[in-house]
């Protein structure tokens, strides 16, 4: 597959598929792998798993990244037609109840996050995973500041609340690993090849 792609290298291959990244032309031509279609069950399993990770008793460790937000951004960027704002909103409500936060606080943050990710998804996919995480950090920060604004409006500031913004930075640092992990099922070859591990 890869050699075929390189042979076609110079030509602009027009395709309608959403998951097929546009071929890079110019100075650095990165060979891109054509991904397999994603299974909806996998999307749901990862979203649910990330939500469960958030439910773990992290205590007052507010620097722990929001795993669900990160996974949500991932699927919004890679499968914007399958994972949208409705899912973000519903999971946000669940998160609110778990954290004893105001009803709708996380829902608002996740909706904004989802919108940002969906509207930027074509641009983000042009970059390698390392650079993508800068975009992701921006998105996470915007979502976090939105929910912080709600809290400041309702209850006033707590000292050191901004320490929570660390979780966005940590989340962005996790992005390349998350990308590698969540894309791995789609990177499998079509036919099972015994000489390759995956």
């Amino acid at each position: 597959m890869r050699s075929l792609w390189q042979r076609l290298g110079g030509e602009r291959l027009e395709t309608a598929s959403a998951s097929l990244r546009p071929p890079t032309v110019g100075r650095s031509v990165r060979p891109e792998q054509v991904l397999r279609p994603v299974r909806p069950a996998f999307i749901w399993a990862t979203l649910g798993g990330a939500f469960l990770l958030n439910l773990l008793p992290w205590g007052h460790a507010i620097w722990v990244p929001d795993f669900f937000a990160l996974t949500l951004v991932f699927w919004n960027v890679h499968q914007p037609r399958k994972v949208g704002m409705g899912i973000a909103f519903v999971f946000g409500l669940l998160m609110d109840v778990h954290n004893g936060a105001l009803f709708g606080e996380h829902a608002l943050a996740y909706t904004l996050l989802s919108y940002g990710a969906i509207s930027l998804h074509r641009r983000i996919q042009w970059f390698p995973a390392g650079s993508q995480s800068i975009y992701v950090m921006g998105l996470l920060l915007i979502a976090q500041l939105a929910s912080a604004a709600v809290r400041l409006w309702v209850g006033g500031a707590t000292p050191y609340w901004w320490l929570g913004l660390l979780s966005s930075a940590l989340g962005a640092a996790l992005w390349p690993f998350l990308t590698a992990l969540l894309l791995s099922p789609q990177r499998r070859p079509a036919k099972r090849d015994d000489t390759r591990p995956l």
Binding site: A16, L55, P57, H60, G100, L108, V150
Partner: protein
Amino acid sequence: MEYGPPPLFNQGVSARARLAFFSLVAAALIIVDAQVNALDAIRNGVEILLFPVQRVLLWPRDLALDVGDYLSTLGSLNEENARLRLLAVEQAKLAQQAAQLQLENDQLRKLAGVRDRVNVPAQMVVALYESRDAFSRKIVIDRGRNDGMRAGFPVIDEAGVVGQVTRVFPLTSEVTLLTDKEQSLPVQIARNGLRAVAFGGQEPMTLELRFLPANADIENGDSVVTSGLDGIYPAGMPVATVLHVDRDVKDQFARVVLKPVAGMSRSRLLLVLLADPPPLVPAAEGARGGASGNVRGDRAAAKAVRR
């Protein structure tokens, strides 16, 4: 499906319209939840759905703690045993004295014609987890409305006051810790009976006394106990010790920082005192008067009255 063409014309509702819709719904929910308690039914429903999942997710941590306990060394166990034995002897002495003092006190109270102190029943609870929120200090306990919990009950641990039940679900409850900046309780200095109100402090894990004159008689190390004026917390329960006192000449009030004596986020076994809060006076004067023990701003006071 994945390699099919994207729908060219039927794109559904645009992303911006969706954003507007969901944000408006979320904003409406936030406003309604901040102002009135109308959403508690939905919240309860969601909590019941989440409850089994939350409990299952606590297993790994509890298992780790149990294994840690099991593997604790003989030395530490011996040490703890010796300490506890010493404590038991000390407390036996106190308990004997207490029985005698209780008798004496009852007689004296009868002589003085003072109303008897009510003995509040209590319920042992386990702290499940601390909510992950940069803006508040809350823990969730494993008893809810079905076990007789109600908002307003005081929560203590073996050392002193921990906080107050502030929201009740059918199976769990939320306890707001004293260190939460929205929490407050009437206290007095044990040494001289000086009354004050303790609020959640500026620094994490501290309380502070507000509205005390700069020349108030307070020293570092003074112990602070509940004054019982709110009718919620029984009088005389340890709350905190004075960490330091700032007497700024420019300022009219002294800044007193306290360190709570209760384990706050560390202890897992807690005691909820099933003491009904006194009936609340209607919003107009009741909220400001601090009848509920939550002397706060206007909005928060209105909230306290609803509870």
